[in-house]
Structure formats: structure tokens, C-alpha cells
């Protein structure tokens, strides 16, 4: 690099090389250009004024810095006062316009749809008629909805239980606190623990007596809803959620000391693994035999009995266990990042 043009910095080639090396954003560009211009002016000057060189350089630099700071601060000030007020107005107007627009469009759409409650709608076609007339004979479930989601459209439901599973995994990823490498609890963990203790009710007599009465009832009701999913309304998911709520009530009344005796992270892992694996494997079996027209070992049985309807009660139990454990796990993870 023997010869460099005096205006190298501002020439096209110079800018291109600068961009190649550093990359840039628009604001940075403006700033550096300005500062470069200053220092270059100064260089030309300084050939004549060797004595004042240092001093002038300092001054220029200060001026440039000050200008930069002023630029930034005015920008910030604008952003924090007028800008934010303007943005808020834009935001409010935009939200109102959007809300009204979307609602108007969708209302127009809804008004144009097939009429409400009419038996001749396209929705009520041969598929739903098949479910109603053949459902009990083919699946053995008295509750047609249960028969539909766990037998006819079981693939959806398999996906659904895996949505719950991946949500549990994501919450674990996000909230579970990791012990340090040597296995000791980290300060973060201790803090979370202390934070949690602070708000835990300590021997609240009213709460504990209520819980003594309610928890068994809630759990029993949950089990009832799960077991009767194919006979009456309910099923694995709602029953599991009820059981999970019962466990959460127990935890809130008596604290982690008591629940840790029967429900740890290991329990959660094992129970959900067993339930999910049973679910996936049994469904894989039934899909495979069904598609290939092989005989299946499950039969619909007598409709209305507790263990009828082929796989459905077992699947309901599996789903109920997964949901119960997952809900409880969500709650404990939210509270202290561990179980």
C-alpha cells in the first residue's frame, strides 16, 4: 500500500473495502464519516502547526465525542418523550382500527355461514351419522365423543398427548434449575427455594383441615371421571386435570416436605414415560393391525360396562396419568424450579 489517495476514505473503493472489513449500519456510517472528516481536516492542519498538534487533536476529539453524545442524547430524549407518546398514539389507533376491522370482517363472514342449529347444515353429514349410528357397535363406547377421539380419530389424540409432553419438556427446559457440576445446589436454586418458603402457608389450620376433607374427594372424583370416560362425560384429560388440581391443593396445604414423600421428579419421569409409551405402543399396534386388516386382540365388549370398549378405558387411564403428572409438574416447576 504505497500510495493512498488523500480522499481514500470517502472514495467508493474505500467505502467498499471498509464495508468488506467491518460491515456497517447506516447510523454508524454517518457517525464515522463525520469523525473521519474531522480528523482528516486536522491532519492537513497539523502539518503547519506541529506545536499545537496534540492540543488540537484532543480538542477535536472532544468535540466529535460531544457531538456524538449530543446526537445520541437528543435521539434518546425524543424517543423517550415525544417519540414514545407518538408511538403510543399510533399503537392505540392501530389497535382500535385493527380490532374493529377484523371483527367487522369476521362478523360478515359469520353472518354468511350456514344457519345455527339447523340439522341440514353441511357439518351434519354421513360421517357424524356414522359415528352416531355405528359408534357404539364398533367401538363399544357409550359416550360417542370418547369413542370418536380415542378410536376413530385416535391419531389426532396421539398427537395431542404429545403436545402435552413437549410442553412439559419445554417447561422443564425453561424452568428447571440445574445443579452445579459437582452436584451442589447453586445459589439460584437456594434463592428460589427461599423465595418459595417465604410465601408458603405455615400450618394454616383452616387450609389443612379443608384439604384433609377435600383432597380425597377431589382425587376420587378425578379417578371416577377418568374411569368412566367411555360411559359418561369426561375422560382422561378432564379427569387428569381434576386429579392434578387435587394434588396441587395438597401441596399448597402441607408443603413440599409432605409431597416429596410420594412425588419426586423421578416419579414424574417414570409415570409419564410408562403412560406415554403404553399409549404410543398400543396405538401403533392398533393402527398397524387395523390398516393391514389383521385380527386385533381387543374387542368392544359389552357397552356400558367399566372395562368394555376395547382399549379406550386403558387409554383414558394413561392419558389421565400423564395429564395429572404434567399439571402437577407445571405447578411445582413454576413455583421453585424443581420438584
Amino acid at each position: 500500500m504505497a500510495k493512498i489517495r488523500p480522499d481514500y476514505e470517502t472514495s467508493w473503493f474505500g467505502r467498499l473495502m471498509h464495508w468488506l472489513e467491518n460491515g456497517s449500519t447506516a447510523l454508524d456510517d454517518a457517525m464515522t464519516d463525520e469523525m473521519d472528516a474531522h480528523s482528516r481536516d486536522h491532519l492537513v492542519d497539523s502539518e503547519h502547526h506541529h506545536a499545537t498538534q496534540e492540543h488540537a487533536l484532543e480538542e477535536r476529539r472532544h468535540a466529535a465525542l460531544e457531538r456524538e453524545q449530543r446526537m445520541y442524547s437528543s435521539l434518546h430524549q425524543w424517543a423517550s418523550t415525544k417519540g414514545s407518546r407518538l408511538m403510543r398514539w399510533v399503537y392505540i389507533v392501530a389497535s382500535v382500527v385493527m380490532c374493529v376491522g377484523i371483527i367487522a370482517l369476521l362478523l360478515n363472514t359469520a353472518a354468511n355461514l350456514p344457519p345455527y342449529g339447523d340439522p341440514d347444515n353441511p357439518v351434519n353429514n354421513e360421517v357424524s351419522a356414522h359415528y352416531i349410528t355405528q359408534g357404539q357397535a364398533e367401538t363399544g363406547a357409550v359416550n360417542i365423543v370418547a369413542g370418536m377421539i380415542l378410536d376413530y380419530r385416535a391419531f389426532d389424540t396421539l398427537g395431542e398427548s404429545n403436545v402435552l409432553f413437549i410442553a412439559a419438556v419445554t417447561v422443564l427446559v425453561l424452568l428447571r434449575l440445574a445443579p452445579s457440576r459437582d452436584g451442589k445446589p447453586t445459589t439460584e436454586m437456594l434463592e428460589a427455594e427461599a423465595d418459595d418458603r417465604l410465601y408458603e402457608p405455615k400450618h394454616d389450620m383452616i387450609l389443612q383441615h379443608q384439604a384433609n376433607l377435600l383432597v380425597p374427594l377431589i382425587l376420587l372424583f378425578g379417578i371416577y371421571v377418568v374411569m368412566n370416560g367411555h360411559i359418561s362425560p369426561g375422560g382422561g384429560f378432564s379427569g387428569g386435570a381434576i386429579m392434578g388440581a387435587g394434588l396441587i391443593l395438597y401441596l399448597n396445604a402441607f408443603g413440599f416436605r409432605k409431597t416429596e414423600r410420594f412425588f419426586t421428579f423421578r416419579t414424574f419421569q417414570i409415570v409419564s414415560l410408562m403412560a406415554l409409551a403404553f399409549y404410543a405402543c398400543s396405538k401403533a399396534y392398533s393402527f398397524f393391525t387395523g390398516a393391514n386388516h389383521l385380527p386385533s386382540i381387543f374387542s368392544p365388549g359389552t357397552p356400558g360396562m367399566l372395562f368394555s370398549a376395547g382399549l379406550i378405558p386403558y387409554l383414558n387411564i394413561a392419558v389421565g396419568l400423564v395429564v395429572c403428572c404434567t399439571m402437577y409438574a407445571f405447578y411445582t416447576l413454576f413455583r421453585k424450579g424443581d420438584m
Partner: protein, 100 residues
Amino acid sequence: MEFLGIILLIFVIICAISVSLTKDLLTALVIFMSQSLAMAVIWILLESPDLGITEAAVGAGITSLLLFVTLKKIHAIDIQKASEKESRKEEAISDGENQA
């Protein structure tokens, strides 16, 4: 049925609007809970008892519990109480001063 259904639908819409407009998170949460309960009733009216049970257990139960524990974790509940207490204390002090 139709009358009750329409009233519940209006209630649900009012709840949704007020959730969107309230400043206080805890209030919003309680309104949301009651909205879920109203939804559960609507589903019973629409002859879907499965959905009614599920919504009551999940929407009004688990979701609200998770929201509550989140609010607790982020100290939204306690901070409010603390600030309320503080303001009350200040009021008491100023009242005392005025009396004096």
C-alpha cells in the same frame, strides 16, 4: 335456554373487553377465571358436557392456577399489596399531621 345463552355470551364478551382494558393484573386474572366458568356453562347449554367438564377443570382450574402462581413468582401480587400498605401508611401519617 336461548335467553340464558344470550346473557352468558354478552357476559363473556364484556369479560373479554374488561380483561383487555384493566390495568391491574390480578383483577384481569379473576375476570378471566369467571369468563372461563361462563364458557363452561355455555358448553353445557350447547349440549357438550365433555367440554363443560374439561373447561371447568382446565380453563377455570389449571390455567388460572398457573397464572396465579406466575403472578406470585413475579411478585405482581405482593408488590401491589406492599404499595397499597405504603400508601395507606402515608395517608395515615398525613392525616395524623393534619390533626396535629
